[in-house]
């Protein structure tokens, strides 16, 4: 029975080249064997007991793995038998896919495992153990669990009995140290290794600072910070503005393009419609012209026809007048006047002939009765006189009647002429008056027209349209103005709301900081108090009890308060051990709570406070982030609304600009129309004035003509009267002359009759006297008859002429005046007709001109529309632009456009060109903007150039949204949080890490003290082994420390929500410094390539060894100290010292009744004396050495157990104990 716990035996069943071996190792053990005999296999198996780590056994990668080499069969077992104060238990290792453990609560019994020289399979083995009622544990499936059990750290009480020792949380150092010694016994001892061991013994792995994580976080922070910095660069903000402007312009151009496309679509349809309508209209107008022309030609023909007839009549009259003149001249030439006069005398001559013939007959017929004869003569004469008188009377009557007739004719002629004249005058006057009236009417019309022109609104439709547009613009302006005000007010109120939120958050934040500060200060106070206690605890009752009274917690701990426990003035001393009294009084403290705390509890409490501070800091950062997020969320919503409103304002401004432009255009158009209207008015007025002038002139002319006409009429009338009077006077004179002639003829005849009567009387008297006949008288009478007959014959010869004359006179000469008047009348009619026709012609010309003008205007319109459509077909339809806008152009309804199709096409093309120019600028700006950011920047400013125009617009929209919602603030808040968290995390980790510094120093001093005891005083081989710690040279650690210091100096000044706030210079400097520190750290981590910062990085270790006359000085690694043997010895001493220290540090102080093995192979170089001293050195520290020797020598005599390795005839390795357990003194 051992009074200690130790690995007593190791048993190999079917392990490697060994079928069965049982090796007792409960003391210093030496394995002797040539190479490849299995020494190392065994040593590794022993090491595996401690380390339970298949990788830390020094098996190279070219060799078979531990599992494959050791456990080649299903019934391969390694059994570790452990001796305890109570007996033995053993651990069996077997493999089923992986290695499993079972703890068996009994000493190893070969019979349980091997039946009939054959090892049982695990299942059968368990059955057998059951059969033998041997207790065994559940299958332990993990190495960790196994280690926890062996090192007494497993919480399951059932396994407590299977512990080799009572280890604490840092028991891992023990297997680590044992492994390290085994693995590096031949190589250099590096300070790193020692540091690592120290670190492992005091620290826990969670205090390590994972640099990969830190570097990743730093890189993320740094990249995000850089992104934000890039965002705030001047060029970028300018570029951002440019993009915004470009985008607005592009959007406006697109809008304009849409509007133009719509207008074009409408204009095209309208043009197509108008083309038809105008074509019809032109045709109608042409028809109208043709009809008018036909009508005019018809009228012209009629007029010409009428005129021709009149002219024929006039010609007839003219020829009659000419004929009358001609005949008059002929008659005059033929002496018509004499002939007429002679004709007038013919009757008288005929009477004369009759009378003379009668006289002659009388004279020649009888001479008988002279009385009778003379009576007859007298009667004859009387009759002749009577006849003559009758003739004369008849002639006088005829003359009178003729006179009367002539006078009447003359009067009638006069009256008729006068009447004609009057009529003609009246007609002329009437015509003139009519013309005058017409002109007056025209004048009135023109005056009215002038008034109308004055009052007329020219281009009313166009102007009305423009005015309506202007009114619409003005209405919109008004609406916009109110919208402007409303929206600005809304923006202002949103701004105020935002300010309010910020102010409120600032206040909340300040309150939170104050609260946090207060709590942190309280916690720091508590930490300080604990630290104070712990710093002095070794010199107080607490420290004394810790060292000298292991179970004081359950006794003194229940009756002592902290004040007494940490009082330095008490000078405690142990008088008598194991006395359960308080100043002699026994107390039953079973129900009393332990009042005092252990060191761990203090450490835990402190850690709790530190954690609480960290939690508070984290909570603070989270609060800030949450607050920033909330604030940002609210502000983003406000900014979004505000941006929306601003966008609307921009739209309104754009619309205002457009409207202003339109207003100017419309005003200009209106002015133009007005000017055109005024020009037209002026032209119309001028025309009207000219027309009025013409009318006035015409009126004046007509009035003058009327006056002239009256004058002419009066004159003609007078002339007519004069001629009448003259003719009447001539007629009267002729009548009187004829009367006088007749009277003269009568008187002459009467006197001749009287003379003749007297002569007859005389002759009668004479005849009566002579009764004879006088023949001279008969002869004379006969001559007279003959002469009278000749005269009558001559007259009769002219009778035809006279008849002709009389006929002509009656038909022609007497009607010449009538003819002339008629001719003049007809000529006047012709003139009037021509005048009338001229008016018709003028009206026709006017109408035709108007129609032609209309046609021209319509044709112009038609031409414009046709040209527009043709232009569209030739220059627009084939373009890609049309295809792009087709969906807008084609469905639009017909509407008139002032700009026209050509103008719209040009505008669209110009717009498209402008759009492309702008878009190229826009694209370049976006590319340049996005190019300034990292490709995977967290603000997502990325662009895929292959994606086309939409991608750029998406980018711009996103950028606008980013600006509008002020998303950068969210980024800043996040970066600020990660900044704060990074600094906090680094600081707290550094704090946790540096917490260990005291323990490190303590351990180093312990080691140094232990080294001091390893001076091999008997041999004086090693004069001293010294160890010292220095400040770390780790650059990363230094940067980390700087950050921690910075955190200490600026507990609440860093990590503000806005890291980029330049308004507070001091704050900005602090932020800048903190960011620089983080960047420095990141750079250093990248450069130094460390994976983590561990406790061992906190300090540097230096060895100094003096062996004989060799002094290594302060060195970092122990490479070679003296000869190989000495070197090995020194290293073994150092390792054993380390192991000892670690065991002390890693186990409960109260349970130091166990031994561990320290495996050092190939110790053949060490001299026997030194080996002995080494064994003793180890033994003093409860450490058993397990060494390997290649050959048997005297060295093995210093060990408790010596085994030789041999192979049997089957090739199995056999381990044979060489010596008895007697050790040379």
């Amino acid at each position: 029975m051992e009074n200690r716990r130790i690995l007593n035996r190791i048993i190999f069943i079917n392990i490697g080249n060994t079928d069965y071996a049982s090796i007792e190792i409960a003391g210093n053990t030496c394995f002797v064997g040539t190479n490849n005999m299995g020494k190392t296999t065994l040593q590794r198996a022993i090491l595996f007991f401690y380390s339970a780590n298949t990788r830390g056994l020094g098996i190279s990668s070219s060799q078979k793995s531990f599992e494959d080499y050791y456990f080649q069969y299903p019934n391969s077992y390694i059994v570790y038998e452990i001796a305890t104060e109570e007996g033995y238990f053993h651990v069996m290792l077997y493999r089923r896919e992986k290695i499993f453990y079972r703890f068996v609560d009994s000493a190893f019994d070969q019979d349980h495992y091997i039946v009939d020289s054959e090892a049982l399979l695990p299942k059968a083995l368990l059955t057998r153990l059951n059969e033998h009622k041997v207790n065994y544990s559940d299958q332990i499936e993990t190495f960790e669990r196994y280690r926890n059990i062996i090192y007494g750290a497993d919480p399951d009480k059932r396994y407590k009995k299977f512990a080799l020792m009572k280890g604490n949380a840092s028991y891992h150092n023990i297997p680590l140290a044992i492994t390290s010694i085994f693995l590096s016994s031949e190589s250099v001892i590096r300070a790193e290794f020692v540091k690592e061991c120290i670190a492992n013994s005091i620290g826990t792995k969670h205090t390590n600072i994972e640099l990969k994580t830190v570097e990743r976080q730093l890189r993320q922070f740094s990249e995000r910070y850089q992104d934000i910095e890039t965002f705030f660069r001047k060029e970028n903000s300018t570029r951002g503005d440019l993009i915004k402007d470009n985008f607005t312009q592009i959007k406006n151009l697109k809008l304009k393009q849409r509007s133009l496309a719509t207008e074009l679509g409408g204009a095209l349809k309208y043009a197509a419609e108008q083309q038809q309508v105008l074509g019809q209209e032109v045709a109608r107008h042409r028809e109208e012209i043709e009809w008018q022309e036909a009508e005019f030609r018809k009228q012209e023909q009629e007029q010409q026809e009428a005129n021709r007839e009149i002219n024929q009549e006039i010609g007839a009259f003219k020829s009659k007048i000419r004929e009358a003149d001609k005949k008059q001249r002929e008659y005059d030439e033929r002496g018509i006047a004499d002939a007429l006069r002679q004709m007038d005398e013919r009757a008288q001559l005929a009477l004369e002939v009759q009378a003379r013939e009668n006289e002659y007959a009388t004279l020649t017929a009888g001479f008988s009765d002279v009385e009778l004869q003379f009576k007859t003569l007298f009667d004859g004469l009387e009759n002749e006189r009577r006849e003559f008188e009758n003739v004369l009377r008849a002639e006088g009557l005829q003359l009178d009647r003729k006179y009367q007739d002539d006078r009447n004719v003359l009067r009638d002629d006069f009256r008729r002429e006068e009447s004609d004249l009057k009529e003609q005058h009246q007609a002329e006057v009437s015509r003139l008056r009519q013309a005058l009236n017409q002109k007056e009417l025209e004048k009135k019309d023109e005056a009215f027209r002038e008034k109308e022109i004055h009052g007329k609104r020219y281009f009313e439709k166009e102007s009305a349209q423009l005015r309506a547009n202007l009114e619409e613009i003005s209405r919109r302006k008004l609406e916009r103005s109110s919208a402007f005000t409303v929206k600005n007010n809304q923006i202002d109120s949103l701004k105020k709301e935002g300010d309010h939120i910020r102010e409120k958050n600032k206040l909340t934040s300040e309150q939170y900081i104050a609260r946090n500060n207060e709590e942190v200060a309280g916690l720091e106070e508590k930490i300080k108090a604990i630290e104070q206690k712990l710093s002095v605890h070794q010199h107080t009752l607490f420290g004394f009890l810790q060292d000298n009274y292991p179970d004081w917690y359950s006794t003194i701990g229940k009756v002592c308060n902290e004040e007494i426990l940490f009082n330095r003035e008490l000078n405690p001393k142990v008088i008598k051990k194991n006395l359960d009294t308080l100043y002699g009084i026994q107390l039953d403290l079973g129900q009393v709570q332990v009042f005092s705390k252990t060191l761990e509890q203090y450490a835990l409490e402190k850690q709790g406070y530190i954690d609480r501070i960290a939690a508070l800091n984290l909570a603070f950062l989270e609060f800030r982030e949450t607050q920033a997020h909330e604030e940002q969320g609210k502000l983003a919503s406000i900014s979004k609304k505000s941006a929306h409103l601003k966008n609307e304002l921009t739209q309104l401004e754009y619309e205002a600009g457009q409207d202003e432009h339109k207003e100017k255009q419309y005003t200009l158009d209106l002015s133009e129309w007005k000017a055109k209207g005024e020009a037209l008015r002026e032209k119309d007025l001028l025309e009207s004035y000219q027309l009025q002038d013409v009318i006035k002139k015409d009126i004046a002319t007509l009035t003058e003509s009327l006056a002239n006409l009256d004058e002419v009429f009066t004159k003609n009338r007078k002339k007519l009267e004069g001629r009448f009077n003259e003719r009447l006077a001539a007629l009267t004179a002729a009548f009187e002359q004829e009367s006088s002639r007749l009277k003269d003829v009568r008187d002459e005849k009467l006197s001749a009759y009287a003379d003749h009567k007297a002569a007859l009387q005389k002759e009668k008297s004479k005849v009566l006297k002579n009764k004879g006949i006088d023949d001279s008288r008969i002869k004379k009478l006969k001559d007279e008859i003959e002469a009278a007959r000749k005269a009558v014959q001559t007259i009769d010869k002219h009778a035809e002429l006279i008849n002709d004359y009389r006929k002509d006179k009656r038909e022609l000469f007497d009607k010449v005046d009538e003819f002339k008047r008629e001719k003049e009348r007809l000529e006047d009619r012709v003139q009037q007709s021509e005048k009338d026709f001229a008016a018709i012609k003028q009206a026709f010309a006017k109408k035709k001109s108007q129609l032609e003008q209309d046609i021209r205007s319509l044709a112009e319109d038609l031409k414009r529309y046709t040209e527009g459509l043709e232009h569209f077909e030739r220059h627009f339809r084939e373009r890609a632009l049309f295809d792009r806008l087709r969906h807008i152009i084609e469905p639009t309804l017909a509407i008139h456009s002032d700009a026209g199709i050509v103008g719209l096409c040009s505008q669209l093309l110009a717009n498209d060109t402008e759009y492309h120019n702008q878009f190229e600028k826009f694209r370049n700006n976006v590319t340049e903007f996005a190019g300034r950011f990292r490709p995977d920047n967290h603000m997502n400013f990325k662009i895929n150039p292959q994606a086309g125009e939409g991608e750029y617009e998406r980018f711009a929209a996103y950028l606008q949204e980013f600006y509008n919602e002020n998303k950068i603030q969210t980024s800043i808040a996040e970066v600020a949080k990660s900044h704060g968290m990074l600094i906090d995390a680094i600081s707290s980790k550094m704090k946790a890490l540096t917490e260990h510094k005291g323990r490190i120093t303590k351990m180093i001093s312990k080691m140094e003290a232990d080294f001091g005891r390893a001076s091999f005083e008997s041999s004086k081989l090693i004069e001293y082994i010294k160890l010292k710690s220095e400040d770390s040279e780790n650059k990363v650690l230094r940067k980390l420390q700087k950050i921690a210091e910075f955190r200490e100096q600026n507990p609440f000044l860093y990590g503000e929500v806005n890291l980029f706030n330049q308004s507070n210079k001091a704050k900005a400097e602090i932020d800048k410094r903190s960011v620089e520190l983080l960047n420095d750290l990141q750079r250093t981590i990248s450069e130094e390539k460390y994976e983590e910062i561990r406790v061992q990085d906190l300090f540097e270790l230096r060895f100094r060894i003096k062996e004989g006359k060799n002094d290594t000085g302060w060195i970092e690694k122990i490479d070679k100290v003296g000869s190989t043997g000495t070197d090995m010895l020194v290293k073994a001493v150092i390792y054993i010292t380390l192991l000892n220290v670690f065991i002390k540090e890693s186990t409960e102080k109260t349970a130091r009744n166990f031994f561990v093995h320290c495996i050092i192979d190939e110790v053949g170089q060490i001299s026997a004396a030194y080996l002995k001293e080494l064994i003793n050195f180890a033994e003093e520290r409860n450490i058993c050495l397990i060494n390997g020797l290649p050959n048997e020598s005297k060295l093995e005599t210093h060990y408790n157990y010596t085994y030789k390795f041999r192979k049997d005839q089957h090739g199995y390795v056999k381990v044979i104990p060489l010596l008895t357990m007697t050790i040379e003194p």
Binding site: E235, R923, T927, E928, F929, G931, P935, P945, Q946
Partner: protein
């Protein structure tokens, strides 16, 4: 004269004929030179070394007033090459605007699809693989400071590309009959 602490770094870059562009990884150096009076200070400072610090649109570089004919000839040859390279990039769907990111594989793909581009590329590089050819010319531009490699496959166009554009725009081709035409 307080010269910035980054002066040696700036000199080391610029004296190798490189550019410092605002949009590259040396953006901070650009900011340093661009900060307040630093440009003037550095210009005077570098003048003593025979280099003239010049400022382009968002980039800086060194110029030398007197250079041997051999160097000038070499530079001209280099420029002739750059012109062809620029011609190549300008013939692509995505033009070499400042900030443009090109992926070698993407350019190679475009070259496969575009015979004209492919021929231009073949005239520029004798490498076997298309990707290597593109990589070679991209690296040449990177060496000249006109591109910057962001990762294995990605190159970014620097502000210094303006320098190339400017120089190319200054070139005039003298025709045989003595007339001049801008190239």
């Amino acid at each position: 004269m307080n010269i910035p602490k980054q002066t040696p770094e700036i000199f080391s870059i610029l004296s190798k004929g490189n550019f410092i562009s605002s949009n590259g990884s040396r953006g901070k150096l650009f900011d340093v030179i661009n900060f307040e009076d630093n440009f003037q200070i550095l210009k005077e400072f570098f003048a003593h070394t025979g280099y003239h610090l010049e400022k382009g649109h968002n980039y800086f570089y060194f110029s030398q007033q007197e250079e041997t004919n051999t160097i000038m000839e070499k530079k001209l040859e280099q420029f002739a090459y750059y012109i062809d390279v620029m011609d190549f990039f300008s013939s692509m769907d995505v033009k070499p605007v400042v900030g443009t990111r090109y992926r070698v594989t993407q350019i190679a793909e475009e070259c496969y699809a575009n015979e004209r581009l492919k021929q231009k590329l073949f005239a520029l590089s004798r490498r076997e693989k298309m990707v290597d050819k593109v990589g070679e010319i991209a690296n040449d531009l990177t060496a000249g400071g006109f591109f910057e490699q962001e990762d294995e496959d990605t190159y970014k166009v620097m502000d210094a590309i303006h320098y190339l554009e400017q120089v190319i725009s200054l070139i005039t081709i003298e025709e045989e009959d003595g007339e001049q035409a801008d190239s």
